[in-house]
């Protein structure tokens, strides 16, 4: 009689399962170390020296951010340009910027932002994605949202909207008033500007590139 096949042997499969699970876990841990080093937040020095980081330091709020096609990588990447005033200043220190970002990130969680919006594409789908919201033409100088709030800069317009979203109905699906204070709103805008500078491997594609989208219907 032929030998019993290894393929129908429980021990073979148990050992294989153990090996595969263990090794896949080790690979994941290794990859996690590799990735963690790459996605740690950069510093002010990195920005000044033009060192590209996947996640730039908080002082990126002192600079102009654009979203441009990178020929080598084949998709759009955020580009940190020259200085740009943010709430009237372009010399926020590392500590000040970090504190604003901290408050904004805390606020984004305390107000449950991601249970309506998506951040980096993750969250709920009841409201627009905020990954590159800072770069949205609607908030720009010619944008409908900035005009609606009556403010003259993007950051002030967003901050004003966040404090009184129920006064600026943009759609039947209105953002509710979340008791966001002025300080929190400034923090949230810093958080949004910082998020737009994160290198998301080209997500979302073509963001803000299509003209006429605002009244495109």
């Amino acid at each position: 009689m032929a030998n019993k096949s290894v393929w129908s042997d429980n021990r073979f499969w148990q050992r294989s399962a153990t090996w595969i699970t263990g090794f896949a876990s080790i690979l994941l841990i290794w990859l996690t170390f590799d990735t963690s080093a790459q996605i740690s937040m950069g510093t002010d020095e990195d920005i000044q020296n033009g060192v590209k980081k996947k996640v730039p330091g908080a002082t990126v709020i002192n600079y102009r951010i654009t979203y441009e096609m990178d020929a080598k990588r084949g998709h759009e990447v955020p580009v940190i340009g020259g200085k740009e005033k943010f709430f009237g200043r372009d010399d926020w220190s590392e500590e000040e910027a970090a504190a604003m970002l901290h408050l904004g990130k805390l606020g984004s969680q305390a107000k449950n932002c991601m249970d309506c919006h998506t951040l980096l594409g993750n969250g709920a789908y009841y409201a627009p994605d905020l990954t590159k919201a800072w770069l949205d033409p609607a908030w720009g100088p010619d944008g409908s949202m900035q005009a609606m709030t009556g403010k003259s800069t993007k950051e002030e317009a967003i901050a004003e909207f966040l404090q009184h979203p129920d006064q600026y109905p943009t759609h039947a699906r209105m953002m509710p008033n979340l008791n966001i204070t002025e300080k929190e709103a400034i923090g949230l805008v810093a958080f949004l500007k910082h998020m737009s500078s994160i290198d998301t491997n080209g997500f979302p594609r073509n963001f803000g590139k299509i003209k006429g989208a605002i009244n495109g219907k």
């Binding site: 107000k111 998301t200 594609r205």
Partner: protein, 474 residues
């Protein structure tokens, strides 16, 4: 308790867990309906129970009822598998009440306090604001205590009693399941790091440890319900563990395409997660194969009766085998490749997949275990389907499938209009949302959501009454 046929304390405790799970299942559906209505009538409960709050309750109730039912399932099968009474059952009962109390407090805080100022206190006491695991930090710590007690009970019992393949798999799986929760318990200003670890909890739960748990429960179900051969079933189980963990652990990479992580995740995530449907196909084949095999063997002996000793539970188990493959496998594969995901990420597509996957992979089998518990508690030898149980399973599965199709259509509109055509801006987003196909899909979603909810009411009625029904063989 009168008319209670359970002699095992572990099984008693299991029925507690399963009962509370069923209640939370109802709550999940109810808040899902609120959120579905808000898509159509945005003013509904505006400023009182906004979409964000309805959705938190919808998805948190989902996660918690499943965790409850999973704990209950393990307490149910432990005495059968190990041959001894579960060790530490008193502690198990104590933490059950702690768990229930904590959940009631968390739900009340979600409902009535909802949000807080941007401060650590909010993170500790109101909400952590991270999808699926919004529970405030104090509750996190509570969950860790509860999970550790559960894992300790499982390990002590598993080590002392008979250690079957199913128990061995569950022991390894449940400790990973509990341990992974720790990855979601810290705060960082870096949202890329935040989401990196957040996915460790979410993905490694639902696409790795929970799936292996389902494999183990399905194995137990096949042995108890149709008398499948343990050696065959356990061999399948080990194959499934190898395939599920082999594809699922590194399949985590498909969440690392766009969150600021390096580009090499495109390849790792795409190709490992592309294999994730394979074990799900295997599970489906395995359940049907074992069913046919045992039935065929019995037929050959001239016995024309069904081998199934619990028809409603087995219905849900078979539905699980297929639903897991369809919802997690097919709907997951649809958008797992980065070329596709670039446009589908963060759209209703994800939501469609989420609905069918959570239902097909988890809700089904856990409802099946609820029927097993009803059978055991009432001392029923062969449990039959009733009209109510058939209506319940048909309406729930039809409703969820219909919601999934609706959301998929809505997702297509978002992908084509908001993403591909309009470039994902605020204006582009609403152009997609106002599209006729999108709004009609949302109407259908609500209608089918109501069908699902009526199905749930029938299910609840059946679970409560079928035990006393004289149609069953005792």
């Amino acid at each position: 308790m009168a008319n209670n046929h359970l002699t095992s304390e572990s099984k008693q405790l299991a029925t507690w867990y399963l009962t509370f799970a069923a209640i939370l299942f109802g709550a999940q559906l109810l808040f899902g309906l609120v959120a579905a209505i808000q898509y159509i009538v945005p003013g509904f409960l505006y400023g009182i129970l906004d979409f964000s709050i309805a959705r938190i309750l919808h998805i948190n109730a989902l996660v918690v009822w499943m965790v409850f039912a999973m704990f209950g399932s393990v307490y149910w099968l432990l005495p059968d598998e190990t041959g001894i009474e579960t060790i530490g059952i008193k502690a198990g009962k104590l933490v059950y009440w702690i768990f229930v109390a904590a959940i009631v407090v968390v739900v009340l805080v979600y409902l009535f306090i909802q949000i807080g100022p941007a401060s650590d206190a909010t993170i500790w006491f109101i909400t952590e604001g991270r999808e699926y695991i919004e529970a405030p930090r104090w509750a996190d710590l509570g969950i860790v205590v509860v999970a550790l007690t559960f894992v300790a009970n499982l390990f002590l019992t598993g080590i002392k009693g008979k250690q079957t393949g199913i128990v061995t798999v569950l022991m390894a799986d449940m400790i990973a399941f509990a341990g992974l929760y720790l990855a979601g318990m810290f705060f960082t200003d870096n949202i890329s790091v935040d989401q990196y670890w957040w996915w460790w909890v979410i993905h490694l739960w639902v696409e790795a440890t929970w799936e292996v748990f389902v494999g183990a429960i399905a194995a137990y179900g096949l042995i108890t319900m149709i008398g499948a051969h343990r050696k065959v079933v356990e061999m399948w189980l080990w194959i499934e563990v190898a395939m599920l963990f082999g594809s699922g652990i590194l399949g985590l990479g498909h969440h690392y395409f766009w969150i600021g992580t390096p580009e090499y995740w495109w390849e790792i995530g795409a190709l490992f997660s592309a294999l994730e449907p394979l074990p799900l196909v295997a599970m489906f084949v395995h359940v049907l194969y074992d069913w046919g095999k045992t039935q065929g063997a019995q037929d050959a002996n001239g016995d024309k009766n069904s081998v199934i000793t619990n028809k409603p539970a087995f219905t849900w188990f078979v539905l699980n085998a297929f639903g897991n493959f369809l919802g997690a496998g097919i709907w997951g594969f649809f958008h797992t490749l980065p070329q596709v995901n670039l446009y589908t990420h963060g759209t209703q597509f994800t939501s469609a997949h989420g609905h069918l996957a959570f239902f097909g992979a988890y809700a089904t089998i856990l409802v099946g275990v609820m029927y097993l518990a009803v059978q055991g508690k009432n001392g029923i030898k062969v449990m039959k389907n009733t009209k109510t149980s058939i209506w319940a399973v048909s309406m729930i599965s039809g409703g969820v499938m219909g919601m999934t199709v609706s959301l998929t259509i809505a997702g297509y509109v978002q992908v084509l209009v908001s993403r591909a055509q309009m470039g994902a801006t605020w204006a582009g987003y609403f152009d997609g949302q106002n599209g006729l196909w999108f709004t009609q899909a949302m109407d259908w979603r609500l209608i089918l959501g109501i069908v699902t909810f009526i199905g749930f009411l029938l299910l609840a009625k059946d679970l409560l009454t079928t035990g006393k029904d004289p149609v069953h063989e005792r």
